[in-house]
């Protein structure tokens, strides 16, 4: 594995988006992962729709039938991948733009721009997460966002942080040396794309510690999923 890796440098990551006052983070995490997978499959970055999932995805977890994707009221990336596999794919942001609120489903199959080939969950293992990131593109992950409400920049490495995930984000890369001034050492970190606009964090991004002393910090290693895309040709 390379020491440092960032899919943004390779053109696989779209612009930072803003979910507004809507609990649709799960759809942004899902669309970001499929944007990356589709880039790897086609060589072209298509900015994909979240609103299609907000409006049309009501997929439920087979193990928890009452836990279903529910637009601004929340959802889960793996069930969203399952919906996309069943529905046929995802339209572009341009064809099905984000409104920040739930509405009636206006999905048009003829406008599908990216299709899910396969999706899977990644083991709670930093090396496996890094390997899947490098091989398959950006990964949909869950995180505990308690420190994110006040985050401005730098490498977040809290001494204590809950491990229950409450926010869906996109893992786009990692670095080997982010300086932690009060700990007098270089700390490796994950690079995470958020969906709260460019005026939050480091231009919309969040860095969080990884490595031997920061395993699964804020639950970041325990809810990771990867997706691959079918090479599609938009008509």
């Amino acid at each position: 594995l390379p020491d440092d890796f960032d899919w943004r440098d390779k053109g696989a990551v779209g612009p930072v988006k803003d979910q507004g006052s809507c609990g649709s983070c799960w759809s942004f995490s899902t669309s970001g992962a499929l944007e990356g997978a589709n880039y790897l499959a086609t060589g072209k970055l298509e900015v994909l729709s979240e609103q299609q999932m907000v409006d049309c995805d009501h997929e439920c977890d087979p193990d928890e039938p009452r836990a279903c994707d529910a637009g601004c009221n929340g959802g889960l990336m793996t069930t969203a991948f399952s919906y996309l596999a069943k529905a046929g794919g995802l339209e572009t942001e341009k064809d099905y733009p984000y409104t920040g609120a739930g509405g009636t489903c206006k999905f048009d199959k003829s406008k599908i721009a990216a299709q899910v080939k396969n999706f899977s969950t990644v083991a709670v293992d930093e090396d496996q997460i890094a390997a899947n990131l490098v091989k398959h593109g950006p990964l949909a992950i869950g995180i505990n966002a308690v420190f994110m409400q006040t985050y401005i920049g730098g490498v977040s490495c809290p001494y204590i942080c809950g491990k229950h995930q409450d926010h869906g984000v996109l893992l786009v890369g990692y670095g080997s040396a982010g300086y932690a001034p009060l700990r007098f050492k270089e700390k490796p970190y994950w690079i995470i794309k958020n969906s709260w606009g460019e005026n939050w964090g480091e231009s919309g991004y969040y860095k969080i510690c990884r490595g031997a002393h920061a395993k699964n910090l804020c639950g970041v290693d325990a809810m990771v999923s990867t997706v691959t895309a079918i090479h599609t040709q938009k008509e």
Partner: protein
């Protein structure tokens, strides 16, 4: 000297220093000054004076929370963000949306486990 220099350039800082010297509560004055900057910077508007006062109290609590986060997370920078006028519950309700899964682990749905990849060499 840095503070004096900043105060000379920034009338907002001068105002806070001046009021503090008159014996008012420094924390509240500091929060008010930061809140005024926050409202302007993020284009916030509140329906009436009561709502504004409530948001100021939430903002002051979030300033304390940011300082606490800074102590707990010294390698990052914590402070005022566009969410600083929201309580943690409001923030959770409006901006987080990952469905809870059993035991905090991934509710995998119909996903399979990814095969183990080689990581050396």
């Amino acid at each position: 000297s840095a503070a004096a220099s900043a105060a000379a350039e920034d009338p907002l800082i001068q105002q806070v220093v001046g009021r503090d010297a008159e014996g008012d509560e420094p924390g509240l004055l500091s929060a008010e000054a930061h809140f005024a900057t926050f409202v302007q910077r993020f284009g916030k508007s509140y329906r009436d004076a009561d709502e504004r006062a409530h948001r100021l109290s939430v903002f002051a609590a979030n300033l304390r929370r940011a300082r606490r986060h800074q102590r707990l997370d010294p390698s990052a920078v914590h402070g005022v963000t566009k969410f600083s006028d929201l309580t943690p519950a409001e923030f959770r309700d409006r901006f987080l949306g990952l469905r809870k899964s059993r035991g905090g682990l991934l509710a995998a749905g119909s996903a399979h486990d990814a095969p183990t990849l080689p990581t050396d060499g």
